[in-house]
Amino acid sequence: MDIGTVTERASPRQFGPKDDLPEEYRKAATRMIQFHANSEIMGAYLERPFIRQAPSLDRKLAFSAKVQDEIGHGQLLYRAAENLGVKTRGQMLDELANGEGKFLNCFHYPMTEWWETPMIGFFVDGAAMRRQATLKKTSWEPYAHAMDKICFEEGFHIKHGESILRELATGSRKEQELVQDAFEEWWPRILQFFGPTDDQSTHHDFASAVGLKTMGNDELRQAFLNAYLPKARKYGLEIPEYPRINEGEDGRYEVVEDDLDWDEFWQIAKNDYGPGRQQIDSRKAAREAVAWVRESMETPGSGPGSDTGDTPQAAD
């Protein structure tokens, strides 16, 4: 199939592993899904300390389940990416460990206290959910299938995040102040979640043309603000003056892009931001520390799951 045919046929769940797809499509889809999968892993890595720091049995259970789900999403997404025949899961996980794999801007920032968790659990996950819902219509069928399962679970995640936010926002004065501080710190990063405006996004045109993406960043940012800005207000969070958000007469929001730190954003996009680098490296150390187990599993006899996805072959 050539690009012309792909573009012509591009529609929801149109292409699968049996189709003879051009390299450009397979590479673009791999890049997109690998980024998504990496983000699940690094998001989970950022949140994992809060399983321990959760302040009740129920919160601990929910947090553990949520982090577990993210790993499950990573598992699904790497498989959807692997299906394109460009990279194996092992390669993608190695790239993530080596600092070559890219992932969402928000997961490059350190998160140290419980009252910061709704910034990821509600706002960032909420933004991600907006995007993911549109990806049920992506043209790469295995990706859409992964989205079915991910979206099924994600409702729990967002409500879990909102429930923590509500608890803090309606709690003691101290809790309210802490959550406001966290919000001010995270809000600009959250606004950058959808990246710069579409005309600056290099991969957007192709991904849209072949149906991998079904909605642009501008539209998604708009949809996000429509739902989540009122939520922030509802919980008494004060929206910082900067970055400015202008509200048009048609109800559309416009974020003043110059108010955001794009140098930092692009530094992050290159995996060059210090705290993000630390996250990458400490996860790498954790991954390497259990390399011996993976090696042990891959010895004949084959273990309960393997990172390479190889099926055991009988010896010749």
Partner: protein, 283 residues
């Protein structure tokens, strides 16, 4: 609620002695599950593969869920979750020290060996509770046991997998050498032991459970090429640690862990831990 004609009464009906014995039986069980889970969750996002990550996360949640059921029975005596966990003192906890020991980075063999030793004990323990005279425990044992089967399967499967090659077995051996003496403290008796057995709260003594446990664990480990310091006639040839947990004595690692998991609760000066789930008595 099942009715045990010969059993103990409702929480309010218990004599002080009965209540003391029930508490002494429940508290180590609840704390044991809670702290084991706390250590298991350290493996989340750090397990060897994505699949093994999902599995150990699930086991951690199961254990936490079990802890929740046992704590809830203690709450029948007027304790609160806050008092039992979040506002407690580290020395109030009665979990066996086996479960509080720190995990070395990448020491998956520790997670598996610890799980194997503890789960084998827990299985025996739960079976000794199936015929308990305290019906509130009896009602919950079945649910807990049903989930423990998978844990045992998980531990045994991994254990034999890791022992398939020499480097793996060496790691297992090291973990076993370190953990085995602590595992033996699972059977350390408290002052309530006689009462617990006499009142039928547990149908088997810790001493008998210990014999049974050794009868399962020693031959199984032996079949994997692993030896433990127990003589042929069942005599233990190693000194037990001074800290056994069930009497409130703990290793130096415990206060640190306690500090970490109570951090948020203290910082936010919470008066009570947030609840999400229905009371187990209601569902």
């Amino acid at each position: 609620m099942s009715t045990e004609t010969t059993g103990l009464g409702t929480p309010e009906d218990l004599t002080d002695a009965e209540r003391g014995a029930v508490e002494a039986e429940l508290r180590p069980l609840a704390d044991g599950e809670f702290v084991l889970a706390e250590r298991y969750t350290e493996w989340q996002v750090r397990a060897p593969t994505l699949e093994s990550d999902l599995a150990i996360s699930n086991i951690a949640q199961d254990e936490l869920g079990h802890a929740r059921l046992w704590y809830d029975l203690l709450e029948d005596f007027g304790y609160t979750e806050a008092a039992l966990i979040w506002e407690a003192n580290p020395e109030d906890f009665q979990h066996p020290t086996l479960v509080e020991l720190p995990l070395g980075e990448g020491d998956w063999a520790d997670a598996i060996v610890r799980g194997y030793l503890y789960d084998t004990y827990e299985n025996l323990h739960l079976r000794a509770l199936e015929g308990t005279s305290y019906p509130w425990i009896a009602d919950r044992v079945g649910k807990v046991l049903a989930e423990e089967d998978y844990h045992t399967q998980h531990a045994r499967n991994w254990l034999s997998r890791l022992c398939e090659d020499d480097p793996g077995r060496e790691r297992v051996r090291k973990a076993l050498d370190r953990l085995f003496p602590y595992a033996l403290t699972l059977f350390a008796e408290t002052e309530h032991e006689a009462a617990i057995v006499d009142m039928g709260i547990r149908t088997e003594s810790l001493a008998d459970m210990r014999e049974e446990w050794l009868g399962v664990v020693v031959p199984h480990l032996d079949s994997l090429g692993l030896s433990v310091p127990v003589s042929e006639d069942g005599e233990v040839l190693v000194d037990l640690p001074d800290q056994v947990g069930t009497d409130g004595s703990h290793t130096e690692h415990w206060p640190e862990l306690f500090e970490e998991f109570t951090h948020t609760y203290r910082e936010l000066e919470l008066g009570e831990p947030p609840r999400l789930l229905e009371d187990p008595d209601e569902v």
